[in-house]
């Protein structure tokens, strides 16, 4: 990979070259490193990968039609690999309010921020990203319908970037969807940065529904300012080896954030989620709920940390990880953590791992529901708590359909 890309990198972009050197210099992750504990680090070796090649017109056209997930949206961007499919759409009403949706073309935003162990991949994303998307919502503007970003991964590497800036008191619902074009093994290194300015209200849903040969690293930075509210829901429905790093930085007094997630890990799949809830200002709140359902030989890792800075008094921060083992060969790992440097706080974490409750199963069986259906209903019930946080009925029902296909 390295030689080919060495040539591809344009010498007119010194920043990118610098990041590329950085990427090559940084060591591959090893599971002895706390930040990668329990992970199958070998699967993240980059090896002989090339950037996904440009697709034919016909293929792009096909993807464009497959990208209609929601009937109503205020804006949409569709990408395949590192290429834009069709054009970026923003309806007239939204555009008139000053909302902008643009491509970064050959000039990705290069800004290194805190990672939870994935700094090598941050450098890789910065070095190779093309056509990153930038969305800005001006102060006091409410975007009526969701803005949808769809990304299709082909064979080889994709390096999508998404930058979102919600202005003062702005309101936005953002939907990020990641799919595979076909059965090719993709390598996806994505970066999402969202800044919710004072008083804004940002709701975000991320759906990852790849083929089982996909390896992915997604680095998320969520910044919440004074009195803003941010809701972020991650739905890891399908994929191969996934690492998701979510850094939530609660920067303003009175800020509030809800992070939630569902992961369904089956045979050969490993979903590794690392989170940081960093409270840097007083009177703020954050709540995290990550739920995993594990099928035969599926693996999940949840490693979460709540950090409360000395000045962040009156913080309420919670973290919950629930693992439902649906097969004896599944493997669930939890590393819930707290680092509290202020004293007037309410912080807690809880992690549980268990099976379907026999009593609940018995109750349903005694009412004539067969064993398989009863189990399914209980599993779907387990997910529902997270799904209903999305508050977009059309999207929720699509998500339920996708989840159901995992249990057929």
């Amino acid at each position: 990979m390295t030689k080919l890309l060495d040539k591809q990198l344009d010498s007119s972009q010194p920043h990118r070259r610098e990041l590329w050197q950085q990427f090559k210099k940084l060591p591959d992750p090893i599971s002895k490193d706390q930040a990668w504990r329990f992970a199958s680090t070998r699967k993240y070796r980059v090896g002989d990968l090339t950037s996904t090649e440009n697709l034919s017109k016909g293929k792009l056209c096909e993807l464009s039609t497959r990208s209609t997930i929601l009937d109503a949206f205020s804006g949409q961007a569709v990408l395949a690999g590192n290429q834009i499919v069709g054009s970026l759409i923003l309806d007239d009403e939204t555009a008139a309010l000053g909302v902008t949706l643009n491509s970064l073309g050959e000039n990705p935003v290069i800004e290194s921020s805190e990672t939870l162990g994935g700094d090598k991949f941050q450098a890789l994303n910065g070095a190779l990203s093309k056509n990153g998307i930038i969305l800005t919502v001006p102060d006091h503007v409410e975007v009526k319908q969701p803005i949808v970003i769809v990304h299709w991964a082909g064979s080889g590497g994709s390096f999508p970037q998404l930058h979102v800036e919600a202005g003062l008191h702005a309101r936005l619902h953002l939907v990020e969807i990641y799919f595979s074009i076909g059965d090719e093994a993709g390598f996806n290194v994505a970066s999402t940065r969202i800044r919710a300015r004072a008083g804004s209200h940002v709701s975000r849903s991320v759906i990852r529904n790849w083929n089982v040969d996909t390896t992915a690293v997604h680095l998320e930075h969520l910044m919440v300012h004074r009195d803003a509210y941010l809701q972020s829901t991650n739905l890891n429905i399908n994929g191969g080896t996934l690492r998701q790093e979510t850094v939530l930085s609660v920067q303003g007094q009175g800020a509030n954030a809800d992070l939630s997630s569902i992961s369904i890990a089956g045979e050969g799949q490993e979903f590794d989620q690392r989170t940081l809830q960093s409270h840097e200002a007083s009177d703020s709140r954050s709540d995290l709920l990550f739920k995993n359902a594990l099928l035969a030989s599926g693996r999940t890792i949840f490693s979460g940390l709540i950090k409360v800075a000395p000045e962040a008094q009156h913080t309420d921060a919670y973290q919950t990880n629930r693992n439902l083992l649906l097969d004896p060969t599944a493997d669930a790992n939890s590393l819930p953590g707290l680092e509290i440097l202020a004293n007037d706080v309410k912080c807690s974490h809880g992690a549980t791992t268990g099976q379907i409750d026999d009593d609940q199963l018995f109750y349903m069986r005694s009412r004539g529901i067969n064993d398989q259906l009863a189990r399914q209903l209980l599993v779907f019930g387990f997910f529902e708590e997270v799904i209903e946080k999305i508050q977009l009925p059309a999207l929720e029902s699509r998500i339920r359909e996708w989840i159901e296909t995992r249990f057929q």
Binding site: G337, L338, E339, L341, D344, S348, T353
Partner: protein
């Protein structure tokens, strides 16, 4: 309450030392010569010496675990430590035979008094070797062995060699390797099948010399159906330079046996207390660690139980109090290795002033097991605005019908509670100390009476300077 007055320890009680002339001194620093010296004065068999030499190599090869542990560890200067100091290798059986200066030390700490009152046996270790060791005669008639590590390996190799270094291998970590190289003192206990030792056995560990490293080694074997409770207490005077205490404690509970191991650690706050403690529980055996950490500069201690037999049970109850400048890095490890094993961890910590308390734990249930359960609760209380607490558990669950739950919370003493008590005439310090005692009360109640009273008083004293 009256029965306990005699042994109420003063918080400053451990803070004194006598100038003592040592007959045996391995000098400063660690090399093969140090080990030759220790092994020589103890008259050890060649396998023990080989074991030590190998361990020294492991110790030198292993890096400091700085990728996860606190940087404070790099302040330990292994070349400035004295690894062996003693007045002789044979403990006295009669209190009158103990050298005067050593006797004074333990009398000030109340050791013979305690023995008369409620202990079945006691061992008092002064720097490297036991100064005094005695057990009630009826217990030795039943076949209970309670001796120091030197004597245990020399007199009863057929019992102790089998398990020595088996629960905690030399290479477990850097400090278990160090202990394996230079160990001296500690208790070796064997309780024969079916024997239930009703009163606790106790050991008291005392560091007296500056720059001294204490490396005691304890091995307790409870044979089938046996029961034993062991208590240890630790103190050291305050010196200008830091001191190292690095023990290895191995417990073996054979089928149906019960071991309870109680520690009240009150080292002065220049002691690095880096201890490896682990138990192996066979079928239907029960091991309970009750661990209370109040003193030291840095404590790193994670008592563990390997649940090796079906229906074995492991428990860790832990209280940590981190005062100004202290770091209590404590926790528990539960390694489930058989069906239907259960474990319970309850850890409570209090951080005062610039104190920092950390909980670190491992719960592991592998894929071939059925019906295992773990419950973990960690609660932290923060007293001052500059206090700090961390929680870092690691939980891995596989297999069939296993369930694990972990909960942790962080809070401060509620202003309403303090207000309520102040209204009724209590001073702020009294109110605070009452609240803190309430926070740990459900755990303290599980301690033997004498220890719970002492603990409450220690907490009260810590609290006195913390408010206002």
């Amino acid at each position: 309450m009256s029965a306990t007055e005699a042994i109420d320890l003063d918080f400053e009680k451990g803070n004194f030392h006598y100038d003592t002339e040592y007959d045996f001194d391995a000098g400063t620093g660690l090399s093969e010569a140090t080990i030759d010296y220790i092994s020589g004065v103890k008259g050890e068999e060649s396998w023990v010496r080989d074991f030590r030499m190998k361990a020294l190599q492991t110790f030198l090869d292993k890096p400091m675990p700085l990728h996860w542990a606190t940087r404070d560890l790099s302040n330990i200067h292994f070349d400035k430590i004295r690894y062996y100091l003693s007045k002789g290798q044979t403990p006295s059986r009669n209190w009158d035979e103990v050298p005067d200066d050593v006797k004074q030390t333990f009398e000030r700490l109340g050791i013979p008094e305690q023995e008369r009152k409620f202990l079945a046996g006691v061992e008092a270790q002064f720097d490297s070797e036991a100064a005094y060791s005695r057990m009630k005669d009826d217990l030795s008639k039943e076949g209970v062995i309670f001796v120091g590590s030197t004597e245990g390996l020399r007199e009863h190799p057929e019992i102790f060699r089998k398990w020595f270094g088996k629960v905690i291998p030399t290479a477990d970590n850097k400090f278990s390797a160090l202990n394996s190289a230079v160990f001296s003192g500690g208790s070796f206990i064997y309780v024969p099948p079916g024997v239930k030792v009703k009163q606790p056995l106790q050991a008291y560990f005392r560091i007296n010399a500056e720059n001294f490293g204490q490396f005691e080694r304890t091995l307790i074997i409870a044979d089938e159906g046996a029961e034993v409770t062991y208590m240890e207490g630790c103190t050291a005077p305050k010196f200008e330079t830091s001191t190292l205490h690095s023990a290895v404690v191995e417990l073996v509970a054979l089928r149906g046996a019960k071991i309870q191991y109680i520690t009240v650690q009150n080292w002065s706050n220049n002691v690095f207390n880096l201890v490896t403690k682990r138990a192996r529980a066979e079928e239907e055996a029960e091991v309970k660690w009750i661990d209370c950490n109040i003193g030291s500069r840095l404590t790193m201690k994670y008592p563990g139980v390997i649940l090796k037999g079906r229906k074995a049970r492991g428990e860790v109850l832990s209280i940590a109090l981190a005062g100004d400048g202290q770091h209590q890095d404590t926790g528990a490890k539960m390694i489930h290795a058989a069906d239907e094993t259960t474990s319970n961890i309850i850890a409570k910590s209090i951080s005062v002033g610039t104190g920092r308390s950390s909980y670190r734990g491992i719960v592991n249930v592998p894929r071939n097991l059925k019906g295992c359960k773990n419950n973990t609760e960690c609660d932290a209380l923060l007293i001052n605005t500059n206090s700090r607490t961390d929680t870092y558990p690691a939980i891995t669950v596989r297999g069939d019908g296993n369930s694990v739950q972990h909960e942790a919370s962080v809070s401060k003493v509620s202003a309403e509670q303090i207000f309520y008590m102040r209204q009724r005439g209590l001073s702020e310090a009294q109110a605070m100390s009452l609240s803190v005692n309430g926070f740990v009360n459900d755990l303290v109640r599980q301690f033997p009476m004498e220890y719970s009273v002492e603990l409450k008083r220690l907490i009260e004293m810590e609290m006195e300077d913390s408010v206002g």
